[in-house]
Symmetry: C2
Subunit: 263 residues, 2 copies
C-alpha cells in the first residue's frame, strides 16, 4: 500500500489558489492514501469567528470537497484533507476522508489549540476509524497528538494507519509521533504545512514542516524538510500494524490494565 | 528542590556488593529525591521463579530496605529504589519510596515486560502518588513508560515528579519520556542501569544507560551517557508542574475530553 503526504504552503484565504496547487501537484501521483495539511484550503490563522464562518464549507456540498472528490476519483486514491466545515452557524476544524467513490467520513477536531477555541466548535464526532479495504484509517488533527488518548482511542478502535493533517508551529510533534506509533503499534502519516502567516494584529506563525510517515516499530520511513514543498509516497505493509505482540510474552493492547488507569 | 539519579552497573545476585556501591557513592550526596534503577540490588536477568523468590525481600523488613532507610536518614533525603518484593510466595517487581523518617510507600509494577511475566506477579497497587512536602512523587517502573496511561494516571492523581526506576534495553524510552513530560506537564527522573548481563542459557542483555531528568516543557535537564556510572543531581522548581496552562486558551488536563476516549 502506498501512503504519502503533500506538504506545501497554503496562502490564507486564497482557496482557489490552494486547491489549484493541490490539483496540479497531485495530478499524476500514484498513491493509495494521501494526506493533506490541516485547513489546507483556507490557511490557518483566522482572526475572527466571522471569517471562519465565511470560509467554512459544507462537506460534501462545498467547492473544496468537490475538487477533492474529482481528484480522488481521477487518481483512484483516498485523500484525507483538513478544512473548515460549516454546519449552520457552527464551524468545525474538520478532516474529510474521501475515496474514489465519494465521501467516506468526516472527523471534527476534538482538542482545539489556542485561539482555535475562539473560532471553532469543539468536535463532536469522537475519533473515527474507516475500513478502506487495504487498511483501517483513523483520523486525528494536529494538536490531538498532544493527548495520548487520541491515538490510543484510534488504535483501540482498530486503526492501522493514523492520518494526521497538521499545522504545527511547535517543535515536538514529529518526534512524539514516533512514541504514538510505538505505543499503539500503528502507522502514522502526519502532513504538516510550511511557510508562515502574519494576519493583521497577530503574531507571525511559522510552520515547521517535517511531515512524516512512521511505522509501528517507531521507525521514521520518510520525514520532510522544515521549509520545502514535498510530495512523498512510501510503500508500507499495513498488516504490520495488526501484529500487536511486542515480545513473545506481551500483546500490546491485551496487556493493558484499565482497572489501574484513571480516565 | 534537588532531584537526581544514580546510574550504575548492578551485578546479578550480588546484593551486598550492589548495596555497598550505592551506600558508598551516595554517602555524601546532597539531594532531596534520588532515584535508583529497577531491581538495583539483585540485577535484572532472573532465570527462574525460584530465583526471584529467593532474592525477593520483604519491604520494609528486608536487608535492602534497611540499608536504604539508613541512607535516607543519614542524607536527609528521599530515595526511590527498585527491588524484588516478596510477599508470601508471590514476588513483585516493586519500587519503594523511602524518606528520612521511614518507608513512605511501595509501588508494584503494573506492566511486566517479556520474561518478567514468568517470575513476577502483576502489580496490584495501581500508580501511587505521595506528597513528600516539596513535591508530589508518582511512581512507575521501566516498561510502564510504554503505556501512556501510566504517566497520565500519575498526572491525574497530582504527581509533580515521576520517579522511574528502569532497566532499559531498547532505545526508545529516553526520547519518549520527553513526550510523557510534555503531555502531562510533569517532571520525570528516569534512572536506568548500565552494563550487561548474560545468565546461563539466556541472551545477553545490554542496558542503555541514558538516565535523565526531563522538565514539564519537555527539556532534557540532564542525560547520562550510555555506558558510564553517573551520579547526577539537578535543581528544579516543582511548581512548574502545577502550571497546567499550555496556552492562554488551553488548560492541559481540564481540556481533556474523556467522553471521546476509549478506555
Amino acid at each position: 500500500m502506498r501512503v504519502g503526504y503533500f506538504q506545501f504552503d497554503p496562502v490564507f484565504g486564497e482557496v482557489k489558489r490552494n486547491l489549484d496547487v493541490v490539483s496540479e501537484r497531485l495530478a499524476h501521483v500514484e498513491c493509495d492514501l494521501l494526506v493533506l495539511p490541516e485547513l489546507f484550503n483556507t490557511g490557518y490563522q483566522f482572526v475572527s469567528r466571522e471569517e471562519a464562518v465565511s470560509l467554512g464549507e459544507d462537506i460534501p456540498g462545498g467547492a473544496t470537497t468537490a475538487r477533492l472528490l474529482e481528484l480522488a476519483a481521477a487518481r483512484r486514491m483516498h485523500v484525507v484533507a483538513g478544512l473548515a466545515e460549516r454546519v449552520g452557524n457552527a464551524v468545525y476544524n474538520s478532516a474529510a476522508l474521501i475515496g474514489p467513490s465519494g465521501l467516506i467520513g468526516v472527523y471534527r477536531k476534538t482538542h482545539l489549540f489556542a485561539e482555535e477555541t475562539l473560532w471553532f466548535t469543539p468536535g463532536d464526532t469522537g475519533f473515527p476509524v474507516y475500513d478502506i479495504g487495504p487498511a483501517r484509517i483513523g483520523l486525528m488533527i494536529c494538536f490531538d497528538w498532544f493527548y495520548p488518548e487520541s491515538a490510543r482511542t484510534l488504535a483501540l478502535k482498530g486503526a492501522d494507519i493514523i492520518a494526521h493533517p497538521s499545522n504545527l508551529v511547535l517543535p515536538h510533534c514529529p518526534d512524539a509521533m514516533v512514541t504514538r506509533c510505538l505505543e499503539n503499534r500503528v502507522f502514522a502519516v502526519t502532513c504538516n504545512r510550511i511557510g508562515s502567516e502574519e494576519r493583521a494584529g497577530k503574531k507571525r506563525l511559522t510552520y515547521i514542516g517535517n511531515s512524516e510517515v512512521v511505522n509501528p516499530a517507531g521507525n521514521i520511513l520518510r520525514r520532510a524538510a522544515g521549509n520545502q514543498v514535498d510530495l512523498s509516497v512510501v510503500e508500507i505493509d499495513p498488516s504490520e500494524a495488526r501484529e500487536k505482540r511486542i515480545t513473545p510474552f506481551n500483546d500490546l493492547l491485551a496487556a493493558r490494565r484499565p482497572e489501574h488507569y484513571s480516565s
